[in-house]
Symmetry: C2
Subunit: 331 residues, 2 copies
């Protein structure tokens, strides 16, 4: 028997752990080309909230009874494909399940490396790749430029802060508590922090970057994006990564009230997401990140929850203040 | 005596010619370094509407009694500066006045060239430079790419269409009447047109570019921008030039309802305006445009109104359907 997490009912407003339920399922017998995988690590990511809004977007909407899918790392238990013998570590997108049966071509074999397997959900997975795209491909901050990163204590944010520092930028970070702010300064190494529950962005920027911002890495959207438009230098660059502050609102898709500032200041706003990458682009990003991690140039912060049942709890927490680093579930 | 156009009262909603009035003024005697200029051409541009909204933006707000400023071409009549003798053709930003007195360093001497002076308000002025920025610096469409240009029959639009064609792009154009659509196809040389009062963008794009758009040159903002976000290919580029459809609404600054599509499709939205250019960048653009115009690679379309008093009429018309090409006032 396998267990899986299903949507019980679509959340209205703030998501709660009991919008989900655990179900037991019998796995089908293995057919030609089938692989039985036992998951050992599962990912919990902000974008997953978007499959529960009822509004079509780039992720198909889940219905009650559907299993939450997403990235997971597992070990092949039984296989009918000699290319994937039992014991092989694989990544899949089948999400919150203890075990599953799938075709070999929907699984990817993890590289033979010293990296802990869970890193393939964090720094070497979607999270790290997203931070890499935002800093290395989109914003490309230069030595001495000032970069603001919102949601900086989160999974993508905490890696983005480090990548921007590695390029020699001055990194300003926003987060939701004084504890996270201290962590960002002491552990992640950012230059200045703002707890958005205590301080207004305008005041923070007036103090820390009175000449304005060169770059903004936006993880939160909403009012923070809107206010940041006022704080950009002419020709500033904004990387649009996510809008977590909006994912629980009725309308997460709409643009900032002060959008016209983009014309006035000749700003570039560039959205990005890792789902559009080709396998080659994906491999380039993972190799780049693995090199940095090997040389200890990136510190990987993870918040580990134990057990399948914790996935909904961990998930709900993302929208109730979040964590320090990347949330992963250990099975 | 000189005459000038003053704001009588700030328009509520749709701007009307009688929101302005003509006033006679005595010119001051010439002091040290002063120049007396007689204007011969004046510009009327959509962005001027933004000085009448009552909302601060990148242009200072006008109060009743203020003269409308903007680009104009004049001839020096009397001068106390030997570098600017009588008869010199100069450009200024003093706007809708028959004559004015100004310091020499606020005037720029026009290049010695065969180009008609009015071209320095159209193809070789703000209009042409803006189209150049959008096509050559921001969107940079490649051979065979599909570019949508809204407000295509307007001043910037009609040049942008030609510049995109010169790069080998397929150009789709939107406008506000069947007459303008025919003009765009027959005179400007675009590949396909849509009269937005008769057809929905989705239908037009489904017919003319079912695979989606590579680039969008946005002159109109509002609903057209919003719908275009649905029609972009992944990694598409949007140049944000203006939002003329919104300038008469209470809130011209807010972003499109479907802004989140930028993240989903990894779109780049880049605002631009010519006011931020350095003198060197400005000269580069003018030289580039002058070369194209000399070789007859750009056709310059102008709608000429006669007499200072026509400026408010011409201006109001911009927001009531617009014109074919660039509006200039001949004094």
């Amino acid at each position: 028997m396998a267990r899986e997490i299903r949507l019980k009912e679509r959340p209205q407003g703030h998501l709660k752990a009991d919008n989900f339920e655990v179900a037991e399922v019998s796995l089908p017998p293995l057919g030609e080309g089938d692989i039985l995988v036992r998951n050992i690590w599962m990912s919990v990511d902000p974008y997953m909230r978007l499959v529960l809004t009822g509004q079509e977007g780039f992720v198909p909407q889940k219905q009650p009874g559907d299993v939450m899918d997403g990235a997971a790392i597992g070990i092949v238990e039984r296989s009918s494909d000699p290319a994937l013998p039992a014991g092989t570590a694989v990544a899949s997108a089948y999400g919150w399940r203890t075990h599953f049966v799938a075709k070999a071509d929907t699984l990817s074999i993890l590289p033979n490396s010293d990296a802990p397997l869970n890193w393939y959900l964090s720094a070497l997975g979607l999270t790290g790749i997203t931070a890499f795209l935002g800093i290395e491909k989109v914003l490309q901050p230069r030595q001495g430029e000032t970069v603001l990163i919102s949601g900086a204590s989160g999974a993508v944010g905490s890696i983005a802060c480090q990548l921007a520092k590695l390029r020699g930028a001055r990194v300003l970070a926003t987060c939701s508590s004084e504890q996270k702010a201290r962590w960002l300064r002491d552990k992640v190494g950012v230059d200045a922090t703002m707890d958005y529950r205590q301080e207004q962005l305008d005041d923070f920027i007036a103090r820390e970057a009175p000449e304005g911002l060169d770059c903004y890495f936006d993880n939160v959207g909403g009012e923070m994006l809107d206010r940041t438009l006022n704080c950009m230098k002419a020709y500033g660059r904004i990387g649009l990564c996510g809008a977590i502050s909006q994912y629980e609102s009725r309308d997460y898709r709409s643009g900032p009230a002060n959008f016209f500032a983009a014309i006035e200041k000749s700003l570039t706003m560039r959205g990005f997401n890792a789902f559009l990458l080709t396998p080659e682009e994906n491999a380039e990003a993972v190799n780049w990140l693995a090199g940095r991690a090997d040389r200890d140039e990136i510190i990987i912060f993870e918040k580990i929850f134990q057990g399948l049942e914790q996935a909904p709890v961990a998930f709900a927490g993302l929208f109730g203040g979040g964590y320090e680093g990347k949330v992963v579930i250990k099975l």
